[in-house]
Amino acid sequence: MTQYLARRGIYLLVQLLVVATVVFMLLRLVPGDPARAILGDTATEEQVARVRHQLGLDQPIYRQYVSWMADVLRGDLGTSITSGRPVATDVRDRLGNSLELIVLATALSLIIGLPLGIIAGLRANRLPDFVLSAAAMLGLSLPGFVVGTVLLLIFALRLRWLPQTQFVEWSEDPAGHFKLVILPVLTLAASTVAVIMRMTRSSMLEVVRQDYIKLARAKGLSERTVILRHALRNAINPVVSVVGLELATLLGGTVIVETIFGWPGLSSLLIAGVRARDYPVVQGVVLLIAVLTILINIAVDIAYAVLDPRIRVS
């Protein structure tokens, strides 16, 4: 296990280094002069020169790279061009709001997706399975911006059950905050519920054909025990790994959801940065999201290795 962790650790470092390099190179994709692109055609040469200096673009590329890496290692993501504040501060303020959506959406998806997946798996190719599988396909196919907009129309504008987009902190008004979080979490969870349900269904289907399930039934155990203790425990592994992958998808999904619901998280910061051509903000948020994705994947791998000893060897 130690050897496995060491190997993963070295790989993680390399991966982080490469990702930081890719994000550094992103700015080099801007056609022409990034400083000119930020300020537009009306800016004077002096203004352009000042922004170029602020971005470090007046230095040779290798020095830009070294100082970018050194800054990133110290947790310095540069300064926002529009607000003049350190990107790291903005990112830290908003990270929690995004994680809140992701954690709640994951929990909701498991609460709904697991039981429905078990039901569909046990009633495979019968009516409940057809209905649930069709619903899952719909959940997978509807884009987040459609689900979010329609939910907003029905529950906020038509029925007026839930408020629209005035954000309040949890600490200020817990009830108000809770009402606000419902629609974004539902939107975010729509596709994850479907993914978890489909995975649970196929995994259950696979497991209930096994001999040890026949044996458990033959021993006269109650159906409930057979399903929950014997089948589900063996069927859950692929579901765990799919949940890990979904976390990364959810991180991407917050881009749409935060925009629709005016949720002050990482992704709405990213979109604001993109619209204002505030490249340091874009780079900072993209880097953080990539690092989070890598860490989630590593956590899933390790959890998997702990659960299943066969993986550690290979």
């Binding site: 890719v22 999904g253 994705t293």
Partner: protein, 294 residues
């Protein structure tokens, strides 16, 4: 030394396998319905200039007219014909997704073949680069690249091609690893066949099934990304319609004029649903091991 008897035999057998696969696919009602729907959508997109009753970019009449009469789906906030915009938007979405998936398939398949066939340094460079691309959530990577290159449809095609290439590489790589050890590849190498010839004639046909499945699923995902980017204002730029920017524009008027939202939202939902259903159906027939488990 062209088509020997053995060669012809395998070809006939392969054709037979394909025929039964298509036959099986056509017996599944959901695959037939999804396929028919996609044929209609694609035909409408191709024939958009003939079918669209009006210009998609010109304000024609009063804004926000309800559906009916000369404007079957009403008009938008600029007084433009919603039906014509819907039809042209389909052209945009299908065009972008077809072009980007075609690029991703071409690039991905060859990178995957090379990585799996040559192993060693080639394998390491290709596969580790794909890992880097996969460290970013799809939409975030897409937004980052579009933000830098500038928001327009050509860049959206490039971006979607970049983010979906790794999926093809992985699938083809895995399949190539298994195939390369097979006896008929060893035999081809022993009689001195060129690598490229082997890859094209012996390896590629054997990894075709998973590629086809991935293509149909990727087309749906690509539409998801294109409409998502357009919804955020990073894809199709006005006045060019996309189902994504139509939904986005409808948000300000959806309480009073819900059809502005319903029309593009249903089109994008149904199209992705149809492509996913086709992908699932294809996987069931082409890869019988997975049948009933997906």
């Amino acid at each position: 030394m062209t088509a020997g008897r053995g060669d012809r035999l395998t070809r006939t057998r392969r054709k037979q396998a394909h025929n039964t696969a298509w036959y099986r696919a056509l017996r599944s009602p959901r695959v037939v319905i999804a396929g028919a729907f996609m044929i209609i959508v694609a035909a409408t997109a191709i024939a958009a200039p003939v079918l669209a009753p009006h210009d998609y970019g010109e304000p024609l009449t009063m804004p926000l007219m309800p559906p009916g009469g000369e404007y079957p789906l009403g008009t938008d906030d600029f007084g433009r014909d919603v039906l014509s915009r819907l039809i042209y938007a389909g052209r945009v979405s299908l065009g972008v997704s077809t072009a980007s998936v075609a690029i991703a398939t071409l690039v991905g398949v060859w990178l995957g073949l090379f990585a799996g066939y040559y192993r060693g340094v080639v394998e390491t460079i290709i596969m580790r680069s794909m890992d880097v691309l996969l460290s970013f959530p799809t939409i975030v990577l897409a937004i980052a690249i579009v933000a830098m290159l500038g928001p327009n449809l050509r860049n959206v095609v490039i971006v979607i091609a970049i983010v979906y290439t790794p999926r093809f590489v992985r699938i083809v790589y895995g399949a190539t690893l298994t195939v390369r050890e097979a006896e008929f590849i060893q035999a081809a190498r022993a009689i001195g066949a060129q690598d490229l010839h082997i890859l094209r004639t012996a390896v590629l046909p054997n990894v075709m099934a998973p590629i086809l499945v991935q293509i149909s699923l990727s087309l749906g995902f690509a539409i998801l990304v294109e409409t998502g980017l357009s919804f955020l204002g990073l894809g199709a730029q006005p006045p060019t319609p996309s189902w994504g920017n139509m939904v986005s524009a409808a948000r300000d008027f959806m309480e009073t004029n819900p059809w502005l939202l319903i029309a593009p939202a249903s089109m994008v939902g149904l199209t992705i649903l149809a492509l996913n259903t086709l992908g699932d159906g294809l996987r069931d027939v082409l890869d019988p091991r997975l049948r009933g488990t997906g």
